[in-house]
Structures are given as structure tokens and as C-alpha cells.
């Protein structure tokens, strides 16, 4: 589904953020990407739907080459859902309008069709009662659930999560993770940048560990948590699992 091969990316002439990154996400697979901050994991996931350009290598998404200048990027992005660290709901639109806008403008669905789909998804994330509110009236956890519903409204073939719980208060993290766990169990293809190792051990198939722009470890979940091969991954795990 997602094939990342030998991706190199520089900021400016000398600072390399991604170094020869190669990995893949198969259909129906859940892959968690973790690593210390500044390791390039968010940058890598943003390269997948071309929100970030990269200079070398290639990424193929469902058979379409992302970094081909001829690729119709809006069309490609419409097929992959993305959830951001800071939710990025549109503050001037009501919740239901947040869910309908792209359905109508990008997929060309009728307004009624879009509202019906939006209502169904809001119900699924437990927020149907808030359809007519504005994002600022919702808590962080609720906003992030709306953001997930907004992405799902486009019937994506895969979902990208960029630190979806990092900006949340601790008591709101689980309500967002619950939605994500359900998605994983339904067989959604997911690439998740997160520090939530509980989530990783529960639903991930594979775990990728990144440090300083490199993919240091790319292992099956049990191998990764059982005995990470690299010293850097061991150190990282011991730091975040010790509490």
C-alpha cells in the first residue's frame, strides 16, 4: 500500500532530516513509528502524502508515485486520511460543516449525502450531539475525534496519524486511542507516529524506530518489545517505559 524507498530529505543545503529511509506498510497493516523528538518521524509521515517534499528516493502510494511531478496531488491526498497533532479543525465552520466540506468540494457528493455520512461518523466517534457546535466549544479529545471522523468521511484507503495524542491532556488520550484501536481492528491500513507504546503493543503489527533521520529498527511488534536489536532503541524504550 505504502512503499517508501531510499528517501533523503534536506532542509537547506546541509541539514539532513531524513537519511535513506526505506520501509513499507502493507494493506491492512498497522505500523507505529516512534523515536525521540527531532528524529524525523513526523517529517517522514508527511512525505507520504506529499505535504513535505523530499529530494531523493521515492514513495509509492497504492501504485501512484507521490514524488512524480505529473501526479495529481489533491486527488491522491483525498484518498489518504491524515490526523494532525493539533487537530486542525476549521474554526470558522461548524463540526458537521468540517466533515462535509471536502466530501462536497473534492468528492462531489451532494450536501444531503455528505451530511448523512458525516452524521454517521460523528455517531461512531460519539459526538453526534455536537454536530452544530464550533470546534472551539469542544475539548481537545473531542476535537481530535472529530478530526478522525473528518478524515474517515473521505473513505480513505489508508490513515496517517501524526502524533494524534501529543497535544492532549492525559485524561483525554484514551478516548482518542479507543477510536484508533477500533479502526485498527476493522482492518484499516494505518501509519501512526506516536509515543503511546500501550497502543503499539495492543494493535500494531510492526514498529519502526527512528533516530536522527534514520530508520534504526523496523521489526515485528513482538521482536521490538521483546528484544530491540539496536542500543538506541533499547535506551529509548527504557526511558519511556520506566514510568
Amino acid at each position: 500500500m505504502i512503499e517508501i524507498s531510499h528517501v533523503n530529505k534536506w532542509y537547506g543545503p546541509s541539514f539532513q532530516v531524513l537519511k535513506d529511509c526505506t520501509t513499507s506498510v502493507a494493506k491492512g497493516e498497522v505500523v507505529v513509528v516512534c523515536g525521540p523528538s527531532g528524529s524525523g518521524k513526523s517529517t517522514l509521515i508527511k512525505c507520504v502524502n506529499a505535504l513535505e517534499p523530499f529530494q531523493e528516493g521515492q514513495i509509492i502510494l497504492d501504485g501512484v508515485k507521490v514524488n512524480d511531478p505529473k501526479t495529481d496531488l489533491p486527488k491522491l491526498r483525498a484518498r489518504v486520511g491524515m490526523v494532525f497533532q493539533h487537530f486542525e479543525l476549521f474554526p470558522h465552520l461548524r463540526i458537521i460543516e468540517n466533515l462535509c466540506l471536502a466530501q462536497e468540494k473534492v468528492l462531489g457528493r451532494s450536501h444531503d449525502e455528505a451530511v448523512a455520512k458525516g452524521d454517521k461518523l460523528l455517531e461512531r466517534v460519539g459526538l453526534k450531539a455536537h454536530a452544530n457546535k464550533y470546534p472551539a466549544e469542544l475539548s481537545g479529545g473531542q476535537q481530535q475525534r472529530v478530526a478522525i471522523a473528518r478524515a474517515l468521511a473521505m473513505d480513505p484507503i489508508a490513515m496517517l496519524f501524526d502524533e494524534p495524542t501529543s497535544a492532549l491532556d492525559p485524561e483525554m488520550i484514551s478516548e482518542v486511542l479507543d477510536v484508533m484501536v477500533d479502526l485498527a481492528h476493522e482492518g484499516m491500513t494505518m501509519m501512526v507516529v506516536t509515543h503511546e507504546m500501550g497502543f503499539a503493543s495492543k494493535v500494531a503489527h510492526r514498529v519502526i524506530f527512528m533516530d536522527k533521520g534514520e530508520i534504526v529498527e523496523d521489526a515485528q511488534k513482538t521482536d521490538f518489545f521483546g528484544s530491540p536489536r539496536s542500543e538506541r532503541a533499547q535506551k529509548f524504550l527504557s526511558k519511556i517505559l520506566s514510568h
Partner: protein, 230 residues
């Protein structure tokens, strides 16, 4: 000293002052603000564009307009537009352009420079995550601007845009250099005809003062309301 003043001249000329003069002033203000906003937004988008050349052209235009006195632009434009029109259409003689059209075009071009700076600040005030989220949903650049960025930028900047429009309302009085009967021009005409300069100019000042003050007060109330909604 006030014994010689005849304030009845104001009452007698009220219909002319307001039906002719003030309606012209308001129309010129409204249309210029609207046109200035549309072109100002386009210029702001050019300045923020990733095509450096577009940005340079827009930047030059804004700097040029902002470094000229408005009176001079009005004056020059009135005399130049007929010749520019002739050159563009290939006509054999300078085309006729009414004083209203000429001043409207001038004000739109001039205000576009100021509105563009306001809209640029407004667009830059939107966090980069917003257009990123729009792109991630598959919206094109134009759709993302139209539905996500510009509505928010416009809303954030509305008080500043309106304040600039109040300044514009006062600036429209400068069309007197073209002898156009806007509100001030109309008052001035009556003043010269009847020899009542003090009365008419006092009255004109009072009217500008009251309208601008009321409008500023309205903008402040609006600002407070927007602040709460956010």
C-alpha cells in the same frame, strides 16, 4: 462675531448636500472599499505566492502606491486615464472618462495597496496547519484559499479593514481637486455661492466627525464581539 452668521443656509442646502453630495461620497467609499478589497486580496496572494516574480511585482506596486500622495495620484490619474485609454484601444483621440469613473479607479488602485497589506497580515496570521489540513483532505490551493484561509483571514482582519474604510471615507473628500461635488465639494460650492464659508465648513466638519466617530464606535463593538467568539 457669531451675530453675522446665518446657519439657515445649512437648512436650505440640506437636500443638495446629502442627496447629491453625501450619496456620492458614500457610493465612492463603498465601491472603492469593495474594489480595493478584491484587488488587495489578489495582490496579497501574489505577494505570498511561491513564484518570486509575482511577489516582486506586487511588492513594487504596493511600495509605489504607498509612497505617493493620494491627491497627486487622483490628479494625475484624471489627466492620464484618457490617454492610457486611447493607447489601449488604439482610438484616434483621448477617450472621455467621467470624473466619477476616474476617481473610482484611482481609489480602488490606491486602496488595493493598503488593503493588500492588511490581508497579507491576515493570511499570515492563520497557522500553517490549516492549509496543510485542507491539502490533506484533497482540496486544491484555490479551494483551500477560498474556503479555509481567506474566510478566516477576512474575519480576523475585519476591524482593521473597516477602520481603513473610515480613513477612506475621509480621503474621498480629496476629489475636490477634480471639482466633483462630493459632500465636501457640495458644501464648498454652497459656501462660495452664498459667501457663507464659516457656516458651511463648520457644518461639513461636524458631519464628517459624527459619521466617523459613530463608525469607529461600531467597529470597536464589533471587535469586542469577534474577540468573544474566538
Amino acid at each position: 462675531m457669531f451675530g453675522n452668521l446665518d446657519f439657515d443656509v445649512i437648512r436650505r442646502s440640506l437636500p443638495y448636500l446629502f442627496l447629491d453630495g453625501m450619496s456620492f461620497t458614500l457610493m465612492l467609499t463603498g465601491l472603492s472599499a469593495l474594489g480595493g478589497l478584491v484587488f488587495g486580496t489578489l495582490i496579497a496572494l501574489m505577494r505570498l505566492s511561491s513564484y518570486k516574480l509575482l511577489g516582486r511585482i506586487a511588492g513594487l506596486y504596493v511600495d509605489f502606491m504607498r509612497s505617493l500622495p493620494l491627491v497627486l495620484v487622483i490628479f494625475w490619474f484624471y489627466f492620464l486615464v484618457p490617454y492610457i485609454g486611447q493607447w489601449l484601444t488604439g482610438a484616434s483621440r483621448p477617450i472621455r472618462v467621467g470624473a466619477f469613473t476616474s476617481s473610482l479607479v484611482t481609489f480602488i488602485m490606491f486602496e488595493a495597496a493598503y488593503f493588500s497589506e492588511i490581508m497579507r497580515a491576515g493570511i499570515q496570521s492563520i497557522s500553517r496547519g490549516q492549509p496543510a489540513a485542507a491539502s490533506a483532505l484533497g482540496l486544491t490551493y484555490a479551494q483551500s484559499m477560498r474556503y479555509i484561509v481567506l474566510p478566516q483571514a477576512f474575519r480576523n482582519m475585519l476591524p482593521v479593514l473597516l477602520t481603513q474604510t473610515i480613513v477612506l471615507f475621509q480621503d474621498t473628500s480629496l476629489v475636490y481637486v477634480l471639482s466633483i461635488p462630493d459632500f465636501l465639494g457640495a458644501a464648498s460650492k454652497v459656501a462660495q455661492r452664498d459667501g457663507r464659508l464659516v457656516e458651511m465648513y463648520l457644518f461639513a466638519a461636524a458631519v464628517y466627525f459624527v459619521i466617523s466617530c459613530l463608525a469607529s464606535w461600531g467597529v470597536r463593538r464589533l471587535q469586542a464581539r469577534i474577540a468573544i467568539v474566538r
